[in-house]
Amino acid sequence: MSLQEHYRSQARELLAAGAVKMVVGYAEGTTPERRRPVFITEPEECSRLVLDARCRTNLAGYLLREGLLSDGREIAVYLSTEGVRTINILAAESQLSSAQVRILGFEIDRDEVKAMEGKRAADFSEAILAHKERRKKQAPDELAAKLEAMNAAERFTFWQGEFSRCIKCYACRQACPMCWCRRCVVDNNQPQWVNTSSHTLGNLEWNLVRAFHLAGRCVECGNCGRACPVDIPLHLLNRKMTGEVLEAFDHYPGMDEHQEPALASFRKDDPETFIL
């Protein structure tokens, strides 16, 4: 039985038994290569669930829909390792209770989907640890290496070009499961920290703030980059921040639900080479 079939029948059973009130998964999208999230509450609808290498979206963020988990009931959700790490972070940040999240785990390896065994976020700690080790060794991609080799003025010009295209649609924010603030700092107008007009200045400020607020929290799921209508390479900023917290604080976000957030904790011997 394919994993798709296997999880379909599991979803059907979970719903029929009343063990979960909803299954959050993937269904066919508007074009053959697209997948879209579905929210299934009836066992008969489970035949709509699709699982293949095109299921890239991190679905964890949908669990934060206001009131969805407030009845204490469980929800089943299709999650890859990044998704499970997201659950851990959201639990650590008191946004949900991991006991209400029944995981249907999978991993995409090139064009194949593979099962990841486990039901609760805590069952995936080995896979997460393996990801951390792999991440430590990951070489920067070509563009990132090019950027690092530039001088400051050249880098500024590069980002100026990228951010000049930003239209401040905030799709990157809406798509990010970690952007759960009710009121985002960019929507503040007393004081107005970030220029709201979509001039490059405000776009730069917005993108810096976004990257900073995701530092030590981003799981590199890629939801933001896929959502950006003008293809700004947001992953470069996310990766830079992930690399920084990993290197400076040995922090890999989402290890478990008790992990302290990188920027809400400290060690007395944290590095500080740049401080005068």
């Binding site: 950027l147 530039m150 400051a152 003025a153 050249e154 880098r155 500024f156 010009t157 590069f158 980002w159 100026q160 700092v185 004081p191 920290w193 970030v194 220029n195 007009s197 001039h199 490059t200 200045l201 405000g202 730069l204 400020e205 810096l208 703030v209 990257a211 900073f212 530092a215 030590g216 470069l236 900023l237 830079k240 921040m241 920084e244 917290v245 400076a248 604080f249 990188a262 920027l263 809400a264 904790s265 400290f266 060690r267 007395k268 944290d270 590095p271 500080e272 740049f274 401080i275 005068l276």
Partner: protein, 149 residues
């Protein structure tokens, strides 16, 4: 336009250490450049990176963020939290192409009036040498907001 370039520098400092250090520099009659505008805050833990962006947005050529040495925080650990934030934000700014000379971080205690005066001189000289932050000023000009500071 023949006037020599005078950098505008904003310093965000905590009141218990660096501000007191600046005060000591003053009462000891130490000379340092008048290019720096000091903004006093209760603790480095209160200094949000948004402040740095705001200073640049208003046309600053340089920013200094400074507070108590690790272990000396009036609130015990505000500066440890701040340090983590600085580490991350500093790396982000540099990745975005903000030259490292433009945004500096330091520990200056209430007893270090001399360090304060010397650091301000040093930072001012550095920025005088690299000139106004033209790349940023060009972005400000594009928004049609009044000329920087």
């Amino acid at each position: 336009m023949s006037e020599p370039f005078e950098p505008k520098i904003v310093a965000f400092v905590c009141t218990y250490c660096t501000y007191a250090g600046a005060d000591l520099a003053g009462t000891s009659r130490l000379k340092y450049p008048s290019n720096v505008r000091i903004v006093r805050l209760p603790c480095t833990g209160r200094i949000s990176p948004m402040f740095i962006l705001k200073a640049l947005q208003k046309g600053a050529d340089g920013v200094l963020v400074s507070g108590c040495h690790p272990g000396d925080c009036h609130f015990d650990h505000g500066n440890y939290h701040a340090r983590r934030r600085w580490t991350v934000f500093n790396s982000l700014l540099q990745f975005a192409g903000v030259p490292e000379e433009r945004v500096r971080f330091s520990w200056i205690s209430a007893a270090e009036g001399r360090k304060f005066a010397e650091l301000i001189s040093e930072i001012t000289e550095d920025i005088r040498r690299i000139g106004p932050f033209e790349q940023y000023h060009a972005l400000i000009a594009e928004t049609g907001s009044p000329a920087p500071l």
